[in-house]
Symmetry: C2
Subunit: 294 residues, 2 copies
């Protein structure tokens, strides 16, 4: 297995268990540049690109090019190697959806001229490139539309809501609520997501497939759950809702159930416990580092 | 003035009147490659890319890259030169619209995974690049969403409906109707469109502005008008509606009226007369060439 990462948001520590494996290779490279991989390649998972607005908005043109040039480079590699290739597309292709349960036939409500567009339109364009290589160039393409995913090994400053709330609660900081907190998200535990991606890769389906957990929670519900589980009593701070922030987000996973026999099995309750345990350890370790004489 | 064209669908004959001008330069180049232009540049009109489905579907990846890489190259040039730059975006960013009068706030109904996506998503991505360079990099950007445009000097085999009908009627071929001919389009005469583009460039508006003629016609109405005007009695052939073909297309031009003081002044009746006259001359010339001994 070869892992390619520019380490823009990734962390080598997360690969510690893998790096001792004889068949493991790590390449530090940005996929915006064409990849030179020696020998055969049978499967490519394109998981590149920061996915949280504060991260992908740091360098919007780079984000866009990761989604577009990077995807084209990997498709070109897949074509040359005869490899299957899976695209991590996103529920963001639906933008701020006008329907509560988003199915794959819904064409979305994305603002092309706004602060989320570098990611949303980049990902939409990535799907188009995948469709073209799948329909006209004989490449075995797979497109996963990934809804909000969470779990251990997220970056503490990733900027997405689960890690934000958990880290804030554990550090004793106020939880940040954007808007009135009534907007909804659906959270899929990382193990479920990985299982879904592997099954999709093994399938024969070239058209997009939603992967996510249909359980829907408001941000306030999530905040209360995190406070209860961490035993924290920090207050909530309310900030304005960012422009184009989706009001609702909930996957219709009928296609994934039918095509892949897949559905999430880890409830938010259990997934949060595991996530909080991991972050608690991490926050403790960070605190000890701060206490050490430098 | 410098004209850059890869001549994929363009015709040097259309530049005949300009080429004798001392200040005119023609560069045959594909904008997918970065442009090297000597000296100052004050304004850039990005009019590149085939716009009719049969043309842009010949090489979909090239079409996509023209819209994305080409646009990024021109924005980079504009940034380097301190030039204003105008993007010919398109009503295709609205896809198959669910509302009759399409205003700029409508976010569209585009299929990312279909035969029109290489153009539609490429153009959406182009708007995003323009927005980024305008909002975050200080470039004076302008985005025109151009609705169906027609007039003299179109390629006889362009593949869009006005030239198709006119050329078929003049050649004595049956007019091709896709579907039942009840889908609508709005046709803007080229002189009106050029005036709109120039006014938009001169304005201070960075957000998208629709440019088009709100007069709405079904394909059957247009066919009958062309037959009456050409005095042709050819029949109509019905072919299946292509996938994702828009059912309706009609610009809301309130923003263009308010911001630019612009609206079309050439009615379809007059524009068609001029267009038919030009194509009649062209068809006559083509026929004479065929009759010459080779």
């Amino acid at each position: 297995m070869t892992v390619v990462d520019n380490l823009l948001t990734g962390d080598l520590a997360n690969l510690a268990r893998l790096r001792d494996h004889a068949a493991f290779t790590f390449v530090q490279q940005d996929i915006i540049k064409p990849l030179q991989i020696e020998g055969p390649v049978d499967e490519i998972y394109n998981l590149a690109c920061p996915a949280s607005p504060p991260r992908y908005q740091i360098d919007p043109i780079h984000t866009f090019r990761t989604c577009v040039d990077g995807t084209l480079n990997l498709l070109t590699l897949a074509e040359a190697k005869g490899a299957r290739i899976l695209q991590s597309s996103t529920s963001e292709v639906y933008g701020d959806p006008e329907i509560n349960l988003q199915h794959e036939g819904y064409r979305g409500n994305v603002n092309t001229c706004g602060p989320r567009a570098c990611y949303d339109e980049g990902k939409r364009a990535g799907e188009t490139l995948f469709w073209e290589f799948g329909a006209h160039r004989g490449v075995e393409t797979r497109i996963a539309r990934i809804f909000n995913t969470y779990g251990p090994q997220m970056h503490p400053d990733d900027g997405r809501v689960v890690s934000n709330f958990v880290v804030q609660a554990l550090r004793g900081d106020a939880l940040t609520i954007y808007g009135d907190g009534s907007q909804t998200r659906s959270f899929c535990y990382v193990d479920d997501m990985v299982e879904g991606l592997i099954r999709l890769m093994a399938s024969n389906e070239k058209m997009p497939v939603n992967l996510g957990n249909p359980g829907e929670f408001t941000m306030l519900e999530l905040a209360k759950l995190v406070l209860a589980k961490t035993g924290s009593a920090v207050p909530m701070t309310y900030l304005p809702l960012p422009q184009d922030d989706p009001r609702q987000r909930r996957p219709d996973i009928a296609r994934a159930r039918g095509l892949l026999g897949w559905q999430p099995v880890v409830p938010l309750d259990l997934g949060l416990d595991r996530t909080i345990a991991w972050f608690a350890e991490r926050v403790r370790a960070d605190r000890q580092k701060e206490l050490l004489p430098s």
